[in-house]
């Protein structure tokens, strides 16, 4: 029985053979022009291959050679379609498969985003304490060089740090006394190194490995030793919680997730940056609140005024922020002050530094 014509490539040579095709019960029988049987393909093994619109192209599943049978006769193609389950010329099963794949890929994406939001910060937090102190020191030293190079805009070099000149020595001693007092009550994983630097920005921050920078601009705004102690204690909170190590690990994890797996399409760059910034700033706001709580408790433990941190925060940031809050990595100063008040810790009335020491500390950058 001859059901129709087709073109056959046997997969070993490129010869184009015009063949006659017989649709038997279980298989397709392919004969050459002389009526000799070339091969027989079981319907169950047949696979549909990509082809132009008016061609039905078939191959065999799981073969290393690529024999092909091409059918251009729509009647024959329809008959074959009816018999072989894997063949579907209408493309309906292809569309179903595609829909299923699309659904899975969307689900996979959602799960990866979930990993970025919940798992990466959690894993980073768990891993951070296990990073050896030597590596953290090394990271801190490298960051220290970079940070100094960025902040030291006037190229002061060693003079960038206050308290190195003879006139500043008493200020340095006072700072050391304050830091020693706080350190005694704190339980820190690494020794810390607090420096005041010549920059007018009212700010302070902690680097990995226990480097803490207090800017001259912030010292100028401090009205009591307890306020400064509050700020330093807040930064010591970051050191105690290993926050810089955590955020570094978290950044690496997010870069891997967003930078390599996700976001590799035109316009994806914006999605990466926005996603990373949103996750990091949300996380960072929580970290800042934790450091505030640590700082307040530490100052209370030394017997100083724990509420002073809230006071200096509101003084520095007295403007109401009008931009978008979801992008900001610090909570609002007034919110921070309120949270500190709510902790309701009282001063034990201990004088952290006497009046002479405080005056000396305020002039730690006098040599400039």
């Amino acid at each position: 029985m001859r059901d129709g014509d087709g073109i056959f490539f046997d997969g070993t040579t490129s010869a184009r053979q015009l063949v006659s095709i017989e649709l038997a019960d279980e298989l397709v029988r392919i004969r050459d022009a002389d009526g000799m049987v070339l091969t027989e393909w079981l319907y169950a093994d047949i696979e549909q291959k990509p082809a132009p619109q008016d061609v039905l192209r078939l191959g065999l599943r799981g073969q290393r050679t690529s024999a092909r049978l091409e059918i251009r006769d729509p009647v024959l193609a329809a008959a074959l379609d009816g018999r072989a389950q894997t063949v579907d010329r209408t493309g309906a099963s292809d569309r179903r498969a595609r829909l299923r794949i699309s659904a899975w890929v969307v689900l996979a994406t959602l799960s990866l985003v979930g990993i970025a939001v919940f798992v990466v910060p959690a894993v980073a937090g768990r891993l951070a304490p296990y990073v050896p102190a030597s590596i953290e020191r090394k990271l801190g030293d490298a960051a220290n060089v970079q940070v100094r190079a960025t902040l030291d805009t006037k190229k002061l070099g060693d003079r960038f740090t206050c308290g190195r000149e003879a006139a500043e020595k008493s200020g340095r001693d006072a700072l050391n006394a304050l830091v020693a007092r706080l350190s005694r009550s704190a339980d820190l994983p690494t020794p810390i190194d607090v420096s005041v630097v010549r920059s007018n920005v009212p700010n302070a921050f902690a680097l990995p490995g226990g480097h803490i920078y207090v800017f001259q601009g912030l010292l100028d705004k401090a009205e009591s030793p307890d306020e400064l102690a509050g700020v330093i204690a807040h930064e010591m909170g970051h050191v105690a919680h290993r926050d810089s190590m955590r955020s570094m690990l978290q950044g690496a994890g997010l870069s891997l997730l967003f930078g390599m797996l996700l976001g590799d399409f035109v316009g994806g760059g914006a999605v990466i940056v926005a996603g990373k910034t949103l996750i990091e700033s949300t996380y960072s706001r929580a970290v800042e609140s934790a450091a505030d709580a640590y700082g307040v408790r530490l100052v209370a433990a030394t017997g100083g005024d724990p509420q002073a941190l809230g006071t200096i925060l509101t003084r520095i940031d007295d403007k109401k922020y009008t931009g978008m809050h979801i992008w900001v990595d610090h909570p609002q100063a007034e919110d921070r002050a309120r949270t500190i008040r709510n902790l309701a810790l009282k001063s034990a009335g201990v004088t952290l530094l006497d009046a002479d020491q405080w005056t000396a500390l305020k002039h730690i950058c006098a040599g400039s």
Binding site: G6, I7, S14, L18, A67, A270, M324
Partner: protein, 422 residues
Amino acid sequence: MSVPSVTGVVPRAARDNVSFLGADRDYWRLMLRGALLLMFTLGIYRFWLVTDMRRFQWSNTEVGGDSLEYTGTAFEILIGFLIAIALLVPIYSGFFFAALDLGPLGRIAGVLSFVLLAFLGQFAVYRARRYRLTRTVYRGIRFRQTGSAWRYAVCAMFWWVMIIVTLGLAFPVAQARLERFKMNNTYYGDLAGEFHGEARTLFWRGAPLWLLVVGPMIAGIAYGALRIDWGAAIAAATQDGDDVFARIEGASPGFGAGVVIAILGCIWAILAAMAVYPAFQALVLRWWLAGLRFGPVTTVSRVRTGQIYGIYMRLLGYSVLFSISAGIAGSLATGIYALLAPIMPPLLGEILVTAGLLVSYVVAALAYSTIYQVIVKLGFWRVGANSLELSGTAALDRVKAVGHPSSSIGEGLANALGVGGW
């Protein structure tokens, strides 16, 4: 449509012809659906999209009456990509820690990583080409590629440096050498590929364009440099004090004019490069297609420069059309937001504005990229294929199958490193 039954003779015209049958409309549908899914999957869908695109392009390209077939699958590329990531992460971490080193290692880490990644990129380009060739089936037989990807990467790096150093003059030699490397290692079954394009031919055809672009720039810079009294200018520049430019101009009159002329030369170079770029692409395409050989099968390409300009005109038209409609949609959305803003809680407003800006940016970027893919990329494929005329095609009937599909790690690496290449 039925096949002529008994006779096995295919008409000559069809035998020597290459043609592209795909309809733009089908490709638009495929690409727009792909863009949408790319957005919702943050790019993960790219493996499926690129597979669909290749299937469309290959299937619709007919050589001597039979169409090509792309047999690669999205899963293969995805697996290759994941393996490539597993290989790259240690390398990236290594560079991260090297950069922390305070010694000389830390200082050269940046340069070192750039060179290594560029090298790996070229390696991946070659391996990805192998993947695509072994996934190309024509008349039941695969293409394949031999040759060391490391050697290719070394050659490619060398020639790219030469192109930059010579301001593009080395481009024809580089192109001819690299293409020869690729094609001499390319086979269709047991039929060996070759590349016969001559660097000299490309050089003399491209020279007028190069002169038009780079000539005035060099002249401008040289003229500017000659007008400046360098000794006096440098002496003035190294003095202390404010307003360096006034001082230099005083010490070396004509300094300002010299700088302006040099800058004008550079602006000319940019504008001229944009204007003649399609003509340049047309002549490279013609030269490349005409240089391809498979055994006795030779090619001639009749790409007209006007066709390439036509493609870019269409690109411009579609982009303007999209920009206008995007502008209208954007103003409408802004208007609606302005009306609703007073009655919305501030946090909701923040989220809406953020999401709105982000989504519009992504939509716009994807739309321009889709337009580019459909109009330019597919346009080049179509024009290139339709322009081909083959001879010696009798040899295509007697090719024997050799070789197996290659691994997809190269394709995955190319994807992870963001290098395309063909």
